[in-house]
Amino acid sequence: MITPTLSVEAVSHAYGARQALDSVTFAVEPATFAVLLGLNGAGKSTLFALITRLYATQSGRIRIFDHDVRRASGEALRILGVVFQSRTLDLDLSVMQNLLYHAALHGIRRREAQTRADEVLARIALKDRAHDKVRNLSGGQMRRVEIARALLHRPRLLVLDEPTVGLDINSRADILRYVRQLIATDGIAVLWATHLIDEVADNDHLIVLHQGQVLSDGPLSRVVDDCGATNVRDAFARLTRSEHLSGDTE
């Protein structure tokens, strides 16, 4: 039996009277690309805030490998790479300075951090921009830097919250391709939250989140078959009883 990289067990979360998550349960296996698909307001960002310990879990349990995010948050966060929906780079610092700051926040020595930063920047083809201010990068380049930063401490799980929002079609495709490659090259697991159906691929693990509840969870083919649909778009519409699919051609 393989220990899941991420396991979310009966997690509920409320903001006062508003229930944002209701008994959410799913697991992400190692070296898997899992898509958390949901419309805006489904609870994806709340779930990310819980996985990253920005909020404490009110009920249920979240584990990264065997580390409980609530009880052993340090160990859990240590093997977690995060890309948030909003930009979190310091625009007034250079790309390299942002990376070195992140490395320090993980206790990585300066020399080692410099080496790793050079490596990750080479992988995203931005080594020549290392000393440019982040402010001068394009939206797609900033996203790539954020992904590079999330990989700097060599996490085993990478979670990305709507990372392609606001990017053009080419940048979206580049980023998606790069993150999928990481599974093959680094063996990490990825949890990719999105509301864009065209970002789901045939071999992905799909988790459909709607109004704070998981409606379906499993390999894409099984999710589609289970609801008698012909494709992911149809499956999503049937599951959510929604005619309107948000921005799949954004």
């Binding site: 709340t46 780079l89 206790g107």
Partner: protein, 291 residues
């Protein structure tokens, strides 16, 4: 069963070769946070200039104007009559640190709105340690500003005895931490950047004017006993007095106790406010952004 356990152990050993952080790694984290705050400060030249201009305007214009109006009798720690400019210098030093603390608070609100704060909060180091490191970084920046101000004032022959420059350092560190922690606590309660103007009106001005920064408290008492008691209870008054006495190689024990106590209180409050399970932020559902 055995193979399941061994698989699990192998998986864990692969992902976490060692647990916890060494003291060296804690030091790297602190150094990184101080380095980042210093870089930000140096990049914002306007912030540095305004941090200096503000107290210098008070020193060279306000103090000169009121020199003949406001007489200062011999009060501890002074052993002789002093110029009014000399009297308000400790208050202006504390003002620099007060503004710096509030500036840090403003930048925390901004970072939270922009998302930068999450970079800090998802670090695997303990939350209390990250916040204390940020406080230390803010205090270090305020020290730069204070010594730059003291250097300029020295050219106008306003300043303490030479040894005071060294002896005031621990007082500055403590006051910087107290005012930074106050700013951090306030930042946790401010939801939007636009609300920050209220901080100016309801925090900075009352703290500064209801203190011994600009006038000795015995003079305040003659004018208004009520205001005198308010000043006495104002922690900023004690920050000013702690700095004033330290500049003249003396310790004001009462002020030391008040500033020390308030520092601990404010830091604990800020840690609590930023704690994911108890803090204000989680209750407001703020960090998640759009869900």
């Amino acid at each position: 069963m055995n193979s399941t356990i061994s698989d699990r152990q192998r998986a864990i050993s692969v992902v976490s070769p060692h647990s916890g952080f060494s003291p060296g790694q804690f030091a790297i984290c602190l150094k990184g946070i101080v380095w980042r705050e210093s870089l930000r400060f140096l990049h914002q030249r306007e912030r540095f200039i305004s941090a200096l201009v503000r107290p210098l305007v008070w020193l060279f214009i306000f103090a000169a104007g009121f020199r003949q109006v406001l007489g200062v009798s011999i009060i501890p720690p002074y052993q002789t009559y002093i110029l009014y400019a000399e009297y308000i210098t400790p208050g202006l030093i504390a003002m620099i640190q007060l503004f710096n603390g509030m500036q840090s608070s403003l930048s925390m609100v901004y970072d939270r709105e922009m998302g930068n704060m999450r970079t800090l909060l998802v670090s695997p180091f303990p939350r209390w340690y990250l916040l204390c490191s940020k406080l230390i970084a803010g205090t270090a920046v305020s020290l730069l500003q204070v010594y730059a101000f003291l250097l300029i004032a020295r050219f106008w022959e306003i300043g303490p005895p030479p040894v005071g420059y060294l002896l005031v350092l621990p007082a500055l560190v403590l006051c910087g931490l107290m005012l930074g922690a106050l700013g951090m606590l306030i930042s946790s309660a401010i939801k939007q950047l636009e609300n920050f103007a209220g901080v100016m009106n309801f925090v900075i001005f009352p703290l500064f004017f209801a203190s011994s920064a600009l006038y000795p408290l015995w003079q305040v008492r003659e004018g208004s006993p009520l205001l005198y008691y308010i000043c006495e209870f104002n922690p900023f008054t004690h920050a000013v007095e702690l700095i004033r006495f330290a500049l003249y190689a003396q310790v004001n024990w009462l002020s030391l106790a008040v500033v020390g106590g308030c520092t601990v209180l404010f830091i604990l409050g800020a840690i609590l406010a930023y704690d994911p399970s108890r803090g204000f932020l989680a209750r407001r559902g703020e960090a998640a952004g759009t869900a």
